[in-house]
């Protein structure tokens, strides 16, 4: 990967001052739904609803029985509750629309944010998959994806 670029971006962020650079804070909605956290945060990190558009979430929730190769079907009332929560907190930005694959990692936004990384990083044993946000974003569990929360594991490049 372009280590130097990454380092200089980090240095720039630090020089620019924490207040402006890290204003993002948590990507979690202010009142995370407990059912959503439990049902969508056990097998993988509970991906913040704002990472996809409402349309993408609706399509994803309509196919939970074929959820990226797993059957994650929920009973109808639970699925409806979670869908409402996701729609309410979804992004309205087109670049967070995941098109056919429904994967956050296939949105233009994700690609743009991770374009300095070498593709080999994703398959490193310590990372395993781009779905494993917490491999580098140490505070992904609590919705914090800021630059200063990133720690690239000692991966093969």
């Amino acid at each position: 990967m372009k280590r130097t670029t990454f380092r200089s971006s980090l240095a720039c962020l630090m020089l620019c001052g924490a207040a402006t650079a890290f204003a993002d804070g948590s990507r979690m909605p202010p009142h995370p739904d407990k059912t959503w956290l439990e049902e969508c945060g056990t097998c993988h990190v509970a991906y913040p609803p704002a990472l996809l558009t409402a349309d993408t979430w609706r399509r994803l929730m309509a196919g939970l029985d074929r959820h990226f190769g797993s059957n994650a079907a929920l009973d109808a009332p639970t699925a409806a509750r979670i869908t409402t929560f996701l729609e309410r907190n979804a992004s309205t930005r087109g670049e967070r629309n995941a098109a056919a694959s429904l994967r956050i990692t296939d949105t233009r936004w994700f690609t743009r944010k991770h374009d300095e990384l070498s593709p080999t990083v994703w398959h490193d044993p310590k990372v395993k998959s781009p779905a494993n946000c917490a491999a580098c974003h140490r505070n992904a569990e609590s919705g914090r994806y800021d630059e200063h929360d990133i720690a690239l594991p000692n991966v093969r490049r």
Binding site: T42, H44, V45, V127, K128, S129, N132
Partner: protein
């Protein structure tokens, strides 16, 4: 219906509803064993059968041939989801007191994981054996 009666009924409802979910691993073993005994007379949960079930290769799901694929062969250890790499808290109740403390939750995960890994729902006998194994393997009985 007067207000007091309504309140009493609501309270009674809560008291009755609680035991449906709150459970201990021993309660679950007993309930599954009772269910299993309906078709297998004299059924007694066996940690040995539970262990064999836990380690058996079902080879239904590519990346999850057996329970240990995610949960490791040591139930008191932390596991890792084989696809997402998210850490999984230990299955043994001795290492993780939240395990098998809620019957509905246990049922939900049996349904999901059995369908995915075993390729069908698990029987009451298999569940009784498995929970027994997880309790014994964790060092508490």
């Amino acid at each position: 219906m007067n207000r007091t009666m309504c309140l009493s009924l609501a309270l009674a409802g809560t008291l009755v509803a609680l035991p449906l979910h709150a459970a201990s691993p021993q309660d679950l073993i007993a309930d599954y064993a009772t269910e299993a005994a309906r078709t297998q007379q004299g059924f007694v949960a066996s940690a040995e059968r539970g262990k064999a079930f836990f380690l058996r290769n079902w080879n239904v799901a590519d990346k999850m041939p057996n329970c240990a694929a995610c949960h490791t062969e040591r139930p008191a250890a932390q596991g890792t989801h084989v696809i997402t790499a998210k850490s999984i808290r230990p299955l043994a109740p001795s290492a993780n007191p939240d395990r098998f403390a809620d019957a509905a939750k246990a049922e939900k995960w049996f349904r999901r994981n059995c369908t995915e890994v075993v390729g069908r729902e698990c029987s009451a006998a298999e569940k009784a054996d498995l929970v027994r194994f997880l309790v014994v393997a964790g060092g508490a009985s």
